[in-house]
């Protein structure tokens, strides 16, 4: 038996793929397995090819995704044509055998670039372009075929429950669930629990989908046994939750005391706000207002207004939305307003790749808006970090009275993973310095200390705020001495934060300072870097990983110390970008030149298998490796 399984389900967007993914993830979580999955989809509503890539393990939640896959479950022929390369030797292909005559070049939803690549490949292999010929070719090379006639199975379902044929076609998702459950030998009750959760309260759907999944599982089991059964989980399942990155940020914000969130819908940020909308009814006394505004300028402007009343206020957006927020960001900066912007990076520039991931906005967030003002930029590496950072972002914003940008990305947003239920008992709410009973003489921008106590709107004293430079009371001034004093007061807050936030929390070293090589990364690189380190360790190569968690204020001397121990030739920046911006930032902040980089900018995540290969290439002397795996 195996301790882990990598598998993929694919099909047209909107055909129920997410349903299959949710059911299987919940079922596996019920059985105590750790699961991580990434959904890759086109920027369109329905019809284009999408897929979910899973990794399940009996030893806790896997750190990252990898190739090849042990099992490919295809809703349609396009999935097989698109992913047949991804199957491991001896892997399993679940497909619709009634589609064997389907030709790749007649699939309308398939892109012409992929068709051109397949035309070349099939010509070389001597295949006629049909699904049947590809399946036979795969079979000859050791791939085990699990052919199921989807129409036959669906008509059995239709007969039993008196459904129309067109209705029955909406149940294809459960054929895949059944096939995976059969091959993995999943307990029937666990699968049912997954289905019940997905179709909560809709008894007929629970019944019909359970029937279909069980029927397919039974057939598959009879013909193939349970070749993909996982070992029993190493630890008995404790309390776990299944959540996306969007979900955990939303939960963190609620735990952190969010009272006002304004946003404009944008991929891949909006799901966070959708979940928050459902929490508007949380609590009895305080409420959480979630406001969908007319644009991102209105979103951030109303967030600033709400923050000045004392409410913990935030927005969530992606690159195009943040571009619109930049002017108001400076207003919050000059007026020392604590706001939180959760920034989900996606592929740019412009509309770019709206549904694909990227880490190319680091510099944008560090320097956005004209003029100079302090900001704090923190980035989360995984679900648990994202949850904690969502809380911490408010604390930092209020403690240093400045905007905080919480950087995440599409990969994290759309990764659904099992995770322990976060323990909120260790978390704190730090509202920073507040004025006690502010009276007539209260000055919001009192120059006698770097941090002036905040008073909330309506607390007593009259307060003024302006986007112009201001005096201690908030009035417009152009006096050169006052200007300099106020400027310095603001900028000193960043120096204060730099002194107060422990550097080893801002840049976290995983592994030994004596390792053969050091990977440098931030955000969602964390999981794959640690996973690759584990694999390479087994091959005798020791790899350390330096995780940059707070990028502003940058922990310069701490990072310089670690990097100099390795030397430029043994430090590799790993990033989902062209420029490896973290390496540029390190050079800017420490003077240390990172000599090597591994980058990827196809919009797909870095996979463990390709990072392992790339590290080996770097060890052989390559300075820059560009990755591109994934459909």
């Amino acid at each position: 038996m195996r301790s882990e399984l990598v598998f993929m389900l694919g099909g047209p967007q909107g055909a129920g793929l997410e349903t299959s993914a949710q059911i299987l993830t919940t079922s596996l979580a019920h059985l105590g397995y750790g699961v991580v999955s990434d959904r890759e989809y086109h920027s369109n509503i329905r019809g284009k090819h999408s897929y979910v890539h899973f990794r399940a393990s009996s030893e806790g939640t896997p750190l990252a995704l990898t190739y090849p896959v042990d099992l490919l479950g295809a809703m349609d022929a396009e999935t097989v044509f698109t992913h047949y390369h991804d199957l491991a030797p001896g892997g399993f292909l679940v497909y619709d055998e009634s589609q064997e005559k389907a030709r790749f070049d007649r699939i309308p939803s398939m892109g012409k670039e992929l068709k051109a690549r397949l035309r070349r490949e099939f010509a070389e292999l001597g295949l006629d372009g049909t699904l049947g010929s590809l399946a036979r070719w795969l079979s000859e090379r050791g791939i085990r075929l699990v052919g199921i006639s989807y129409p036959d199975v669906l008509s059995k379902l239709a007969e039993k429950y008196g459904l129309q044929r067109a209705q029955a076609s909406r149940y294809v998702s459960s054929i895949l669930v059944g096939a995976v459950a059969g091959l993995m030998g999943l307990d029937e009750d666990a699968v049912r629990a997954g289905i019940e959760r997905r179709f909560a309260g809709r008894e007929a759907l629970v019944e019909q989908n359970t029937y279909l999944a069980s029927m397919v599982a039974e057939t598959v089991r009879r013909m193939h046994g349970e070749p993909l059964r996982l070992e029993s989980p190493a630890e008995p399942p404790g309390e776990v939750m299944v959540a996306s990155g969007n979900d955990v940020v939303a939960l963190g914000k609620v735990v952190g005391g969010l009272r006002f969130q304004a946003y404009y819908p944008i991929t891949p940020a909006a799901d966070e706000s959708f979940l928050l909308e459902r929490y508007e009814r949380v609590g009895e006394e305080a409420s959480l207002v979630v406001l969908q505004t007319e644009d991102e300028i209105a979103a951030i402007s109303s967030v600033i207004g709400a923050a000045l009343t004392g409410a913990r206020a935030a927005t969530a957006t992606s690159g195009p939305g943040f571009s619109l927020m930049v002017e108001a960001l400076g207003w919050a900066g000059i007026n020392e307003v604590p706001i939180v912007i959760t920034y989900y990076q996606r592929g740019g520039p412009s509309t770019g790749l709206p549904t694909r991931g990227s880490q190319s906005d680091l510099f944008f967030t560090l320097f956005a808006s004209h003029g100079e003002f302090p900001r704090i930029v923190l980035a989360s590496g995984d679900h648990l970090e994202a949850f904690r950072d969502a809380v911490e972002a408010f604390n930092l914003a209020e403690r240093y009275q400045t905007p905080v940008i919480h950087l995440v990305d599409k990969f994290l947003a759309n990764t659904i993973a099992t995770m322990p239920v976060p323990d909120p008992s260790g978390l704190r709410v730090d509202r920073g310095l507040l004025a006690e009973e502010p009276g007539e003489g209260y000055k919001r921008f009192d120059l006698s200390s770097t941090l002036s106590p905040r008073a909330f709107l309506g607390a007593g004293p009259v307060m003024w705020f302006t986007g112009d430079e201001h005096d201690e009371a908030g009035h417009i001034t152009e006096d050169p001495e006052l200007r300099a004093a106020m400027y310095e007061k603001r900028m000193r807050k960043l120096e204060l934060a730099d002194r107060e936030i422990p550097p080893e929390e801002r840049a976290v070293l995983y592994g030994s300072r004596d390792a053969d090589i050091l990977l440098l990364g931030w955000g969602s690189v964390k999981g794959v870097a640690l996973d690759a380190a584990r694999v390479l360790e087994r091959e005798g190569i020791s790899v350390a990983y330096l995780h940059l968690r707070i990028l502003e204020p940058f922990p310069s001397s701490h990072v310089r110390g670690i990097l100099e121990g390795f030397g430029p030739g043994r430090v590799v920046a790993v990033e989902h970008s062209y420029n490896a911006q973290s390496a540029m930032l390190v050079a800017l902040k420490t003077g240390f030149t990172v000599g090597r980089s591994i980058v990827k900018y196809t919009g797909r995540p870095i996979y463990t298998n390709e990072l392992v290969d790339a590290v080996k290439r770097v060890l052989k002397g390559e300075e820059r490796v560009v990755l591109s795996y994934g459909a």
Partner: protein, 287 residues
């Protein structure tokens, strides 16, 4: 001192107490209408039943944008075009406050037009006093969305041809709960209209058609002449057909004033509060 003079004096002192006179001289040109409108706002505050400390003023950028800085109220001078969304955040987080946006035509209807129409649609419970001086005065007199066709501005030296918002018509069509238009020459009516505005739950709007020296200079109208123009052309008609109240440069066309619209559509903030009460009341308290 007669009794009348005493009353008048007290009122003036009170108004002065609401103004940050230590910031004077203000930046507005002699003959400009913004100061009068601001005085009317201050007077309306004093006459309102709402305590002074509950009144909040939010302004954008431009000549009228400086208004917040001259009031002894919690005041916000925000980014260009964004006082409305800023005010929406304040009001939604603190519904007990009386939030008034005081800004100009360029700020509210040109760069900020999108926020304006959506705030009316949502029926946000805010007051908007818009000084319409037909131009961007502070930057030297460029045209705005309310510049009348034919008018000369820095950026339309041969006459403006783009087209002009008929502001009361538009705001009424969008569904605002209160729509009025006055000029600084009608200070008593304007003050009363602002008092009326404070009582409205929902979006309340007053256009203050204001003389502007910058605009006058470019159109060869001396300041005093401009005031005479206003006096001669203004007609009060509360029941006016709003499709016909657009402003033009034609000296023979009337400037129609009045309190045109009063509706009682519940505001977003009210509807939100009611929704929450309903959900909490019937939802078993779980989130």
């Amino acid at each position: 001192m007669s009794r009348l003079e005493l009353v008048k004096r007290t009122r003036t002192d009170e108004i002065r107490s609401l103004l940050r006179t230590e910031r004077f001289p203000h930046i507005w040109c002699p003959g400009c209408g913004i100061g009068v409108a601001l005085k009317c706002y201050a007077e309306a505050i004093l006459k309102s039943d709402i305590p002074v400390e509950k009144h909040i003023i939010v302004s954008g950028i431009g000549c009228s944008g400086r208004a917040a800085g001259y009031m002894r109220l919690d005041g916000y001078h925000v980014t260009h075009g964004r006082p409305i969304p800023f005010a929406v955040g304040l009001k939604t987080a603190r519904p007990d406050l009386e939030v008034t946006v005081f800004s100009g035509d360029g700020d509210l209807l040109t760069i900020g037009g999108n926020h304006f129409i959506h705030a009316v649609r949502r029926n946000d419970d805010i007051n908007v006093i818009m000084i319409n001086n037909f131009t961007y005065g502070m930057t030297g007199g460029q045209y705005s969305a309310t510049t009348p066709n034919g008018a000369r501005t820095l950026t339309s030296p041969y006459g403006f041809i783009e087209g002009t918002f008929n502001v009361p018509y538009m705001v009424a069509a969008l569904g605002a709960n209160f729509v009025a238009r006055w000029t600084p020459l009608h200070d008593r009516e304007l003050t009363r209209a602002i008092q009326e505005m404070f009582k409205i739950d929902g979006f309340a709007f007053i256009e203050v058609v204001s003389p502007c020296l910058i605009f006058g200079e470019m159109n060869n109208i001396p300041p005093l002449e401009m005031l005479k123009h206003f006096r001669k052309r203004c007609v009060i008609d509360h029941d006016a057909d709003l499709s016909k109240v657009g402003l033009s440069t034609d000296p023979d066309q009337p400037i129609v004033l009045g309190n045109f619209v009063r509706r009682d559509r519940p505001s977003y903030q009210t509807r939100y509060r009611e929704l929450m009460e309903k959900i909490r009341g019937g939802g078993g308290g779980r989130g």
